[in-house]
Subunit: 360 residues, 2 copies
Amino acid sequence: MLHAIVMAGGSGTRFWPASRAALPKQLLPLAGDRTLLEDTVDRLEGLVPPDRTMVVTSAQLLDAVRCQLPGLPESALVGEPCKRDTAPCIGLAALLVSRVDPDATMAVMPSDHVIRPAQRFRDAIRQAEQLVAATPGRLVTFGVRPTYPAESFGYIQQGEPLPVGPDDSPAHAVARFREKPPASVAAEYLAAGSYLWNAGIFVWRAATILAALRTRQPECLARLERIAAAWDGPDRDQVFAAEFAAIKGISIDYAVLEHADDVAVIEAPFGWDDLGGWSAVARQLGADATGNTVVGRHLDIESSGTIVHATGDHLVVTLGLVDMLVVHTPDATLVASRDREEAVRKVVAELENRGWMEFL
Amino acid sequence: MLHAIVMAGGSGTRFWPASRAALPKQLLPLAGDRTLLEDTVDRLEGLVPPDRTMVVTSAQLLDAVRCQLPGLPESALVGEPCKRDTAPCIGLAALLVSRVDPDATMAVMPSDHVIRPAQRFRDAIRQAEQLVAATPGRLVTFGVRPTYPAESFGYIQQGEPLPVGPDDSPAHAVARFREKPPASVAAEYLAAGSYLWNAGIFVWRAATILAALRTRQPECLARLERIAAAWDGPDRDQVFAAEFAAIKGISIDYAVLEHADDVAVIEAPFGWDDLGGWSAVARQLGADATGNTVVGRHLDIESSGTIVHATGDHLVVTLGLVDMLVVHTPDATLVASRDREEAVRKVVAELENRGWMEFL
């Protein structure tokens, strides 16, 4: 049976002040009326039922996640006591899923990407499920065809093509995983045509990923097994906190994928955007006739290329702005030149530095 | 005896959203800790006592003015039922002052300018008082030596010099008043060296200005006299509302000064700024090392030449801004390019146009 594991523990700083430690990107409706997390779970409708869906987030986000996903049972929500990257998260999910379904296949996905249309996503996951059914030890990844020489993504180099059905997307064996490249290398990848952006979406049997972790990360898996063993007992929280904290954080890519023999990559048949910043949001929402993108109450006089994001009834007026970013929240407002969008992280670092924790 | 008449009925739009219809420029602490109105009244200390000070404002601002000036008796506050420019305001003040002091000399001044230091202002008013005492029919104005070819001020052309004491400022007969000039004419005035900006501050005997109004604006004065006659009776509000509304609005410059024979101008020995917009505020407050001027809670990353004005505890973060203006208030925020500062008035016009009256 197919199970969905939604990873919702991310804590970015690129959308400050709209995003905060207690309200990270995946909990915001950045690309429409629904939050990215809500969109991610909505997207599973018809593919995986709620009782085979698991959302792994951080303990401090558990209440907010619960509020956004009233359709999921309480048992579907896992709150990690601390951040340990994706391998421990996925390993624990695999153990918990295996307890009820030893033959489970897992579709693992981030909760903070924009993926449209949902039907193409579901089709691709089903194709991956078939690739796993055909070769049970296989790990399936998804790659997005690059449209520019991005330096901020990992790349997957396509190897030999795999046989696919007439309605399927192209699938290949993975030749190699490549880390985030410098610009010149990214340009080579783009020109070569055989490199895809790693979308961070995976399909595999729970047993397969657990076996790989047992080989590659035995201590991590042992601790995760102690957590799983305590899951239904009175000591769950205590064991979870102690054992999880003792695990060394590592990504599933480093821990397993880069060393595995049988990894396939399906070329994503859906539109994909990791929403890396406000300009990506503007791309998703589209612009008005003057090139401005607006969420919230706004009045403009002769601005262009400007992004405005305001909460509540607060009015933001822009006058003669060119390529600017204005993000208003009840307690903090950011005004930035759009070409400095990457430096929003500096703002958060400086707030930490000054100890202005109420704004984080 | 010298009486002070502070004109505080102005309603500008250049400082929106910090200024509103119910909180115009003179009621804001734009150039320091005190509001411009408070500063104006503070400046009279040692020159005119509270019981010889009168503040003329609009009826709807009366409560706010009363709150800012707790040291003035209730009888010192006059709330005009509608706007009729400076001549009716000054005429009514002259009538009210004459009732208690028929030989009164009045110093008339706006409440929304920055004048520093206060001692020099008091010295100049005393000099004007002496010029009036020497020639009781004389009208005394104040001129500010131009520092650039301003198009937004009226000018006073100096005529024959008048005798002054050793510590006095230069004083001249007024050759002519000049309206706001186009740039080329303003440049000629600046080069000529004998034109001063009209500071809108006047000293004269109440009897003199009333005689001039009787000749030049007889209907206006007749209506003002009916108001003054009803001032202590039960019909004051009714008569004030009806008669004042029936007066045609006109400035004291057009009504009297431009036609008067004996007008003197004292060259202002004090620093003067009419605070025509946010850049003037920045000039008054000064800038930090990066050329930014900040009022309120603020964090900057690599901005320059930027003005930030935030109310309360709201945090404004600026990132990579150059010559921008950010004004935050609890219900509205303006972000503008500083070179479009003049167009803030367009914003207010557009808000009116849309019927968004809650922001005016």
